[in-house]
């Protein structure tokens, strides 16, 4: 089944096809109505999407999530082999893969099943664990939040559901991989992660899409609940093709003594608007967001983080590194809000921007509010260019200008690379190197004209 364009009937059709419970259908319709009434964001990059031309849902032939690649269509399995996804599983505690609208693969090591860890698609969880899903679903990100969280509420499909029971620590990450392959495809995955009290999870998300000239849309919602004394880390490097609008709402609610860490890399897409947030609800809760954005030719990365301090002695830390080149625009947009009751809290924001040429742009839009006088909020921002002295030093050792630039750029985001699991750090290096190569091709095109 394929759903092109959107109206209430089409939303119902998706729900019917998925054989969902009534409460899910109601939520979808409510979300659709809100989507119709909410305006486009009043800030950030211009979004030029024709909502009638997007494919909102595309099923695959087998209505089943496999846990063995041999049972998956050979062409698709091959694609994921080439992407290195299949092979990465040996370093993980679990892997989930989504192709277009549906999750096609899910597998997890035996020990975790024994510990009652749940790692599946959101639809599967709604059917098998409705009480658990209902307790948290849409409580952290509401469908009134913004136009795209409403849209996600109406047509969400796929995404991960993770439940880590109390007193459970995972040794290795769980990983989900999302791929868009069709033209004009919209992907609307919905992820809900619950890390119950005294537990620990590292979740890694990866994504790619085939490049088309028509725009496609990725509007995901990620909700994370971090219980008392628990820790969750969510790492992702998005490398969407340069025709993708990536408009994502990600939020974590952190209880007493809990720790949430967002490690968020943005290299691909046409436009990204993404501000991972932490609501530090419990006393002593901590939130960290380390984000990098690379904006190349015709790309706009509007990224940052939000930290809302509600509990006492809460701590937040935002490190944002933006790189703009070839006329790209990489901007920081963030908010830190220390509420009046969040006594003795501490927030640090550090935004650094590296601009590689005269054509490129970067702006910072910070909102920093501190509503009590026992808390402390620090904001530091720098904008720099590649230092000619550094270039000269590296080149004086025989390193070409391109390679020297690459080393300096990679050095600039070292803090971020350090936080990624090794395999992803290697992948990230490769992505950034390819990005620098793209530059040469573009130059060449201009010369030919």
């Amino acid at each position: 089944m394929e759903i092109l364009g959107i109206d209430e009937e089409k939303v119902k059709a998706i729900s019917n096809y998925k054989e969902e419970d009534d409460w899910v259908l109601k939520y979808r319709i409510d979300s659709y109505k809100k989507f119709c009434n909410i305006m486009m964001p009043s800030f950030g990059p211009y979004i030029d999407i024709d909502f009638d031309k997007i494919i909102y849902y595309k099923s695959n032939d087998y209505n089943k999530i496999e846990n063995n690649w041999d049972n998956i269509d050979n062409n698709i399995a091959c694609e994921f082999r080439n992407l290195g996804v299949v092979n990465s599983e040996k370093n993980l505690d679990g892997l989930g893969v989504q192709y277009e609208s549906e999750v096609i693969y899910h597998n997890m090591i035996k020990e975790l099943e024994e510990k009652k860890v749940i790692f599946t698609s959101i639809e599967d969880a709604m059917k098998k664990y409705p009480q658990l899903v209902k307790k948290y679903f849409a409580t952290i990100v509401s469908n009134e939040e913004n136009k795209f969280s409403a849209l996600n509420g109406a047509v969400f499909s796929g995404g991960s559901f993770i439940y880590i029971p109390p007193n459970t620590k995972l040794d290795r990450p769980l990983h989900s991989y999302f791929r868009i392959n069709s033209k004009s495809m919209g992907q609307f995955e919905r992820t809900l992660i619950i890390v119950d009290d005294n537990s620990e999870l590292h979740y890694v998300e990866g994504c790619t899409a085939t490049n088309y000239s028509d725009s496609s849309l990725h509007a995901a919602v990620v909700e994370i609940y971090v219980g008392k004394n628990s820790k969750c880390r969510y790492s992702t490097v998005q490398n969407w093709a340069h025709n993708v609008y990536n408009l994502v709402t990600k939020r974590a609610l952190v209880e007493e003594n809990g720790i949430m860490e967002w490690i968020d890399g943005n290299i691909g897409s046409k436009v990204t608007m993404k501000y991972p947030s932490c609501i530090l609800k419990g006393d002593n809760a901590q939130g960290t967001c380390i984000t990098i954005s690379v904006a190349n030719n015709l790309q706009q990365q509007d990224t940052g983080a939000r930290m809302i301090h509600l509990g006492k002695n809460t701590k937040s830390n935002i490190i944002s590194k933006s790189i703009a080149k070839n006329g790209g625009n990489a901007s920081y947009r963030g908010k830190v809000d220390i509420k009046d009751k969040a006594l003795n809290s501490e927030a640090i924001v550090k935004c650094d921007t590296l601009i590689l040429d005269e054509l490129s742009k970067s702006d910072t839009y910070p909102t920093n509010i501190c509503s009590n006088n026992t808390s402390n909020l620090e904001h530091e921002a720098t904008v720099s260019k590649i230092s000619p002295d550094k270039l000269f030093y590296l080149m004086s050792r025989g390193i070409t200008k391109e390679k020297a630039t690459e080393l300096i750029v990679l050095g600039f985001i070292e803090k971020f690379r350090e936080e990624l699991p090794l395999e992803y750090a290697v992948e990230l290096n490769q992505l950034l190197k390819n990005n620098i190569k793209i530059k040469k091709v573009i130059k060449l095109k201009i010369v030919i004209k």
Binding site: S396, G398, I399, K403, L410, G411
Partner: protein, 252 residues
């Protein structure tokens, strides 16, 4: 090896070198001395093609190839190495990434990790440098003397044909200076065709690495050339007492 003819160099504000000439043959060691701000560091950076300066006239030739139009990395790959007066630190770039990239620029196939670590380990221990350099960013938190040692470490790994030492002796304590100079001398013995240009204010380093010629740079030109004794003379009397006349005559 290196021949500079009538080189004039300026910044937007002023002229620094004026009709500067020097000839350095294979295996020769030359020293250049001169008061602060006369253009010694400028000379060393211009040889490597720094964009901070404008070459208004003259030629720099290295092994019969004109360097003027080559980029900095191309000149370095021809075998020129500069030990900087004030080596900078580079955030986030580890010595390992940096050195391997630089070494690989000179090879057809990339150096193996094991071979690289072996070479680095032996070079660091010969220089009596601490371990653990590999994963540290270039000169991160390093003292002045440590940075100088790191320059010579790079020299040892990159195996240049022509070495410029810009005030290597400043920042190094007496023992470290001795170790570093012994390393350089060992390299020169193993590679006897290597030439060296030593920029310094003090004769001490010249006691370790004996120059054939000592040149005095004043007002953008070499005004006098002599042997090692010229360095001690300057140490005693300073630059104001230099009889530049015969220097000029020699040059003309």
């Amino acid at each position: 090896m290196l021949s500079i003819k009538n080189l004039s160099v300026a910044t937007k504000e002023k002229e620094i070198l004026k009709n500067f000439s020097i000839d350095i043959n294979d295996g020769e060691i030359h020293a250049v001395m001169g008061p602060n701000g006369t253009g010694k560091s400028t000379l060393s950076k211009v040889i490597l093609g720094s964009n901070d300066y404008i070459v208004t006239s003259g030629d720099i030739t290295f092994n019969n190839e004109r360097l003027n139009d080559l980029t900095t990395d191309e000149r370095a790959k021809r075998g020129i190495f500069l030990s900087f007066q004030e080596p900078i630190s580079i955030e986030g770039v580890t010595n390992s990434e940096f050195l391997r990239t630089a070494i690989n620029e000179r090879r057809d196939t990339p150096i193996g990790l094991y071979e690289f670590i072996k070479e680095l380990d032996s070079a660091t221990s010969e220089l009596e440098m601490p371990d653990g350099l590999l994963h540290r960013a270039i000169n991160k938190g390093a003292s002045g003397g440590e940075r100088k040692k790191n320059e010579i470490l790079q020299m040892k790994l990159l195996k240049p044909k022509f070495i410029i030492l810009d005030e290597l002796d400043s920042g190094l304590d007496i023992d470290s200076l001795k170790i570093v100079c012994e390393n350089i001398n060992k390299y020169l013995q193993e590679n006897p065709k290597t030439s060296v240009l030593i920029i310094t204010h003090y004769p001490r380093i010249l006691e370790y690495i004996k120059p054939k010629y000592v040149h005095i740079l004043l007002n953008g030109q070499i005004v006098k050339t002599g042997g090692y004794e010229l360095a001690t003379e300057i140490e005693k009397n300073g630059y104001s007492k230099i009889n530049t006349m015969d220097g000029k005559l020699e040059n003309e």
